[in-house]
C-alpha cells in the first residue's frame, strides 16, 4: 500500500461515526467491570461466614479460608478500582453531552457510591490488618462494614442505571435545562428497587458460584481434603440460596419492565405486534420483515407470565406500537431476545443445580460429591458470569435507542469525537493485559498460599515470595494422592477432622 492509500485509510478511519464505537467501548469496559462486582460484593460475606465458623468452632480450615479469601478480595478490589476509574472517565470521554445535560440528576447516586467505595476500601484494609492486630470477635466485626458498603455501593450505582430507565425527580425549564432536582426521587426511582435487588442477588449468586467452581475444580483434581470441601460448601451454599431468590426477583423485574417499558419487553419476548395469547418463544429471531422466525413457541405463556391474573388473555404490547425510530432495531431485538434466553436458560440450570444440592443435604446430610455434580459445579462460575452478562445486555440493549428512557437518545448523548475507535482498540488491548494480570496474580497467590503452610503473614499480593515462609512438609499418611501434598498443610493437622463438612 503506498502512502496515498495509507492516507486514504487514515482519513476514512478518522471520519468514523463515533456512536457505535463509544457504545462498544462502554459496553466492553462495563462487561469487564461487572465481573469484578460480584466478588467485591459477596466475597466479603463468604469470608465472614468462614471467619465466624473459625471462631465459633475453633476451625482452622475455616480460618485459613477466611484469611486467604480476604487477600484475594483485596486484589479483585484493586482491579475493580482501576476499571471503575476508567468507567468514570468514560462518562466524560464518551458521553459528555449526556453528563452535561443530566449530570446533576444522574450524578446524585454516584455521590453515595463514592462514599461506600471509600468505606469498603478502608475496611478491607482494616480487616486485613486486623488478622494480626485485633482479637477475633472485634476483628470479625470490622468485616461487616465491607459487606454493607459493598451492597450499598452497588445499590447506588444500580440506582443511577435505574434512573436512566425511569427518569424522575427533576424539573426542566423552557430550554430543557434541569433547574430543580429532588435527590430522593432520583435515587429511589421506580425501577431502582427491582433492579437493585436483581443485581445484589446476582452478586451473591455469581460470586458464590465463581468461588465454588474453583474449589469444585480442585476437588475434581483430587484435592478432597476438608479445607477444599469447606471452601466449596460455604460458597456453593451462598449461591444455592441466592438461586431460587433470583427466580422470584427476576420475575418481579420482568413484570416491572412489562408495565413500564413495554417496548423493551416486546424485544425480550420477541413480540412484533400487539396482541393477547402471546407465546413464549424459546430461541428464534425476527427476520428482515420483523416477523418471528424459528424457535419453539410455548402457546400463551408470555401473556400468562406477564399477568397471571388475566392469564392467556393478557395483552402484550408489540414492537409495532411505537415508530421504528423509538424501538430497538431488528438486530438489537434479536440480541436482546437471545441474551434473555441465555440468561433464563442458565439461571434455570443453576437453579436445578441448587435444588440437587439442597435435596442431597436434606436426604444425606452432606453435599453431593459425585463427579457429575462437581463437574457441573466447576462450570457454574463461568455459566453464572455468562448469565449475568446476558442479563446486562437485555437491560442495556433493550432500552435502545434511549440513553434516558424516552427523554434522551444515545446518539444525542455521545461524543462527536471521531477518534473514539482508536481509544476503543487501545482499551481492549489493555484490558486483555489487565485481565491476564489479575488471573496470574491470583494464581500466583494461590500457589504461594499452598506452598507455605497456614497463613502467610508476609505477602502483599504482588510482593516477593517471602523468605520467611515455612517450608511445606510432605503430606501425611492420611491423604490419598498428591492433592493433599499440594495443599501443603501438615498431615497430622488434616487427620484431625476427617469428617465431612456439616
Amino acid at each position: 500500500m503506498d502512502t496515498s492509500q495509507t492516507f486514504d485509510v487514515l482519513t476514512a478511519l478518522a471520519a468514523v461515526d463515533p456512536v457505535p464505537w463509544a457504545r462498544s467501548q462502554m459496553a466492553f469496559t462495563l462487561m469487564f467491570h461487572i465481573i469484578l462486582v460480584p466478588l467485591g460484593v459477596s466475597w466479603a460475606a463468604m469470608a465472614l461466614i468462614a471467619n465466624y465458623r473459625a471462631i465459633r468452632h475453633d476451625d482452622r480450615d475455616a480460618l485459613e479460608l477466611a484469611q486467604r479469601w480476604s487477600k484475594y478480595m483485596a486484589v479483585t478490589f484493586a482491579v475493580g478500582a482501576v476499571t471503575g476509574t476508567v468507567l468514570s472517565f468514560e462518562f466524560g470521554l464518551l458521553w459528555p453531552r449526556f453528563m452535561g445535560q443530566w449530570g446533576e440528576a444522574f450524578g446524585v447516586p454516584f455521590a453515595f457510591e463514592g462514599l461506600f467505595f471509600f468505606l469498603e476500601a478502608i475496611f478491607i484494609a482494616v480487616y486485613i490488618f486486623g488478622w494480626k492486630r485485633l482479637r477475633p470477635w472485634p476483628h470479625l466485626w470490622t468485616g461487616v462494614p465491607v459487606v454493607l458498603a459493598g451492597v450499598l455501593g452497588s445499590v447506588s450505582v444500580v440506582a443511577a442505571n435505574a434512573w436512566m430507565n425511569a427518569p424522575t425527580g427533576y424539573t426542566l425549564d423552557s430550554q430543557g435545562n434541569v433547574v430543580d432536582v429532588d435527590p430522593v426521587r432520583v435515587i429511589f426511582n421506580e425501577s431502582m428497587p427491582w433492579q437493585a435487588a436483581h443485581m445484589i442477588v446476582a452478586a451473591y449468586l455469581v460470586g458464590g458460584f465463581l468461588v465454588a467452581s474453583v474449589y469444585a475444580t480442585a476437588m475434581l483434581r483430587g484435592r478432597r481434603d476438608r479445607y477444599h470441601r469447606l471452601g466449596f460448601t460455604i460458597a456453593f451454599t451462598v449461591a444455592a440460596i441466592a438461586a431460587p431468590v433470583q427466580m422470584g426477583v427476576g420475575d418481579g423485574l420482568a413484570r416491572w419492565v412489562y408495565e413500564n417499558q413495554p417496548v423493551k419487553f416486546a424485544a425480550i419476548e420477541l413480540v412484533p405486534t400487539t396482541g393477547s395469547d402471546v407465546p413464549e418463544t424459546l430461541l428464534g429471531h425476527l427476520d428482515e420483515d420483523g416477523q418471528v422466525e424459528g424457535g419453539i413457541p410455548i402457546p400463551g405463556l408470555a401473556s400468562w407470565l406477564s399477568d397471571p391474573s388475566t392469564g392467556r388473555s393478557t395483552v402484550v404490547q408489540g414492537l409495532d406500537s411505537v415508530p421504528p425510530d423509538e424501538r430497538p432495531s431488528i438486530r438489537e431485538t434479536n440480541i436482546v431476545h437471545l441474551a434473555w434466553d441465555v440468561m433464563v436458560g442458565i439461571g434455570t440450570l443453576l437453579f436445578l443445580l441448587a435444588v440437587w444440592y439442597g435435596l442431597t443435604w436434606l436426604v444425606k446430610r452432606r453435599a453431593p460429591q459425585g463427579r457429575l455434580f462437581l463437574g457441573i459445579a466447576a462450570c457454574s462460575g463461568v455459566l453464572a458470569v455468562v448469565a449475568m452478562e446476558a442479563g446486562w445486555i437485555v437491560t442495556e440493549v433493550g432500552r435502545q435507542p434511549w440513553i434516558v428512557y424516552e427523554v434522551m437518545r444515545v446518539e444525542d448523548a455521545a461524543t462527536g469525537n471521531e477518534s473514539v475507535w482508536l481509544t476503543f482498540v487501545a482499551i481492549v488491548l489493555l484490558y486483555v493485559a489487565l485481565g491476564t494480570t489479575t488471573v496470574l496474580v491470583l494464581r500466583a497467590m494461590s500457589r504461594r498460599f499452598r506452598r507455605a503452610s497456614g497463613f502467610v503473614d508476609d505477602d502483599t499480593p504482588y510482593g516477593p515470595t517471602p523468605g520467611s515462609a515455612r517450608v511445606p512438609e510432605p503430606a501425611g499418611v492420611a491423604g490419598p494422592g498428591d492433592g493433599r501434598a499440594e495443599d501443603g498443610r501438615h498431615g497430622d493437622e488434616r487427620r484431625q477432622d476427617p469428617e465431612p463438612v456439616t
Partner: protein
C-alpha cells in the same frame, strides 16, 4: 453557599489525590530513572515494596473528584471533557497500563520481560501526572470555554502554562515519592537508599520550583486574573507552600528522622488550595463562575449530605486504620514484618 462548600470539597479531594496517588506516580518516576537492571535493582526493590501495599486503591480519590464534578458542576464537566479529550484519554489508558504492568512485572521472571513491563509501569507513572497537570494548567489559564463547548483540542493543553504545570506535577510527584521513600528506606535500615532518595528529593524539589516559576510567569500574561489571585489573596497560602517545601528540604538535608513527610505533603496541599483560592470565584477562569456552574440546590444538598456522612463514617475508619497500622501485633503472634500485610490501604 452550598456551591462554595462543594467547590471546597472538590479542591480538597484533588489535593488528597495529588498527595496520596502523587506519591505512587512519583515512585514510578524513580523506577524509570533507576538505571540498568543491576544498578537499579535496589531502588526498584524499595519502590516495589513501598507501593505494593497500596497498588491502585488511591484512585478512590480520583473517582470521588470526577463524581463531585459531574454531579455538582455538570456544565463545566462537559466542557472540560470535550476540550481535554486527548490528555484525559492518555491518563485513563496510562492508569490501566500502570496497574497492569506493575503487577505483571511481578509475575514474569526473565529480565527482558521485566524490563518491558517495568517500562510500561514507569512510563505511565510519568504520563498520567503530566496529563493531569496539563489539564489543570489548561483550566487555570482559561483554555476551557463555558457552555459545555469544546475548546481547542491541542492548544488547550499543549501551551506553556499547561506544559509547565504538567512538568510541575511530575516533579511534585517525584518529590513526594522520594521523601516517602527516604522514610521507608530508613525504616528498613537501608542507609544507602536513604541517601540515594534524599539526593533525588532535593533535585525534584528544585525542578518543581523552576517549573512553578515558569508557569507563574506565563500565567501572568495568559491568565492575569489567576496570577493576581496568587499574588494577593492566595499569597499567604503560596508562602506557606514555599515554607513547607523548603522546610521539608532542610529536614531532609539534615537527615531528620521525622517531619519531612508531613511538610512535603502540606506543601502539595497548600499549592492546590492556593490555585483554587487564586481563581475564585471562577471554576473555569474567565469563563464560568462556581455559582453559575453549580447544579440545582437539591443535587448540591445531596452532595453535602454524602460528604458529611463521609466525614462522619470515613473519618473514624481512617483513625482505626491508622491506629491499627501503628499498633504492634497481638502479644501471642510474634514479630511484625515491616508493613507486610497492608494489602491495599488507600493511605500510606
Amino acid at each position: 453557599m452550598s456551591a462554595t462548600l462543594v467547590a471546597a470539597v472538590l479542591l480538597l479531594a484533588i489535593a488528597a489525590y495529588a498527595t496520596f496517588a502523587g506519591a505512587d506516580f512519583g515512585a514510578g518516576f524513580w523506577d524509570l530513572t533507576a538505571g540498568g537492571a543491576e544498578r537499579g535493582a535496589a531502588p526498584r526493590d524499595l519502590v516495589e515494596h513501598s507501593i505494593g501495599p497500596v497498588w491502585e486503591a488511591n484512585h478512590v480519590w480520583l473517582i470521588f473528584v470526577l463524581v463531585v464534578t459531574w454531579a455538582g458542576f455538570p456544565e463545566a464537566y462537559q466542557s472540560i471533557w470535550l476540550t481535554m479529550f486527548v490528555p484525559l484519554t492518555i491518563a485513563a489508558i496510562g492508569i490501566v497500563l500502570r496497574g497492569a504492568s506493575f503487577a505483571f512485572r511481578k509475575a514474569v521472571v526473565t529480565t527482558r520481560a521485566r524490563r518491558v513491563f517495568g517500562g510500561g509501569f514507569a512510563l505511565s507513572s510519568v504520563l498520567v501526572p503530566f496529563c493531569f497537570g496539563a489539564v489543570a494548567g489548561g483550566i487555570a489559564s482559561g483554555q476551557v470555554p463555558s457552555g459545555g463547548r469544546a475548546g481547542d483540542p491541542v492548544q488547550s493543553w499543549l501551551n506553556l502554562t499547561s506544559v509547565s504545570v504538567g512538568i510541575l506535577s511530575v516533579a511534585l510527584a517525584a518529590y513526594l515519592a522520594a521523601v516517602y521513600l527516604v522514610r521507608d528506606a530508613r525504616h528498613a535500615g537501608d542507609g544507602r537508599m536513604t541517601h540515594y532518595f534524599r539526593r533525588r528529593a532535593v533535585v525534584a524539589a528544585v525542578v518543581a520550583g523552576v517549573a512553578a516559576a515558569v508557569g507563574l510567569v506565563d500565567l501572568r500574561s495568559e491568565a492575569p486574573d489567576v496570577f493576581e489571585g496568587l499574588t494577593t489573596r492566595a499569597l499567604p497560602l503560596v508562602v506557606v507552600c514555599a515554607a513547607c517545601g523548603v522546610g521539608a528540604l532542610v529536614l531532609l538535608v539534615r537527615d531528620a528522622p521525622r517531619g519531612a513527610r508531613l511538610l512535603a505533603a502540606l506543601a502539595v496541599v497548600t499549592l492546590i488550595v492556593a490555585w483554587g483560592v487564586a481563581q475564585w470565584p471562577y471554576l473555569l477562569p474567565g469563563q464560568l463562575t462556581v455559582a453559575d456552574a453549580a447544579a440545582p440546590d437539591g443535587t448540591l444538598t445531596a452532595l453535602v449530605v454524602a460528604v458529611v456522612a463521609g466525614v462522619l463514617l470515613v473519618g473514624p475508619a481512617f483513625v482505626l486504620l491508622y491506629v491499627l497500622a501503628q499498633r504492634g501485633l497481638l502479644p501471642e503472634e510474634g514479630v511484625e514484618t515491616a508493613d507486610a500485610d497492608a494489602v491495599d490501604s488507600p493511605r500510606r
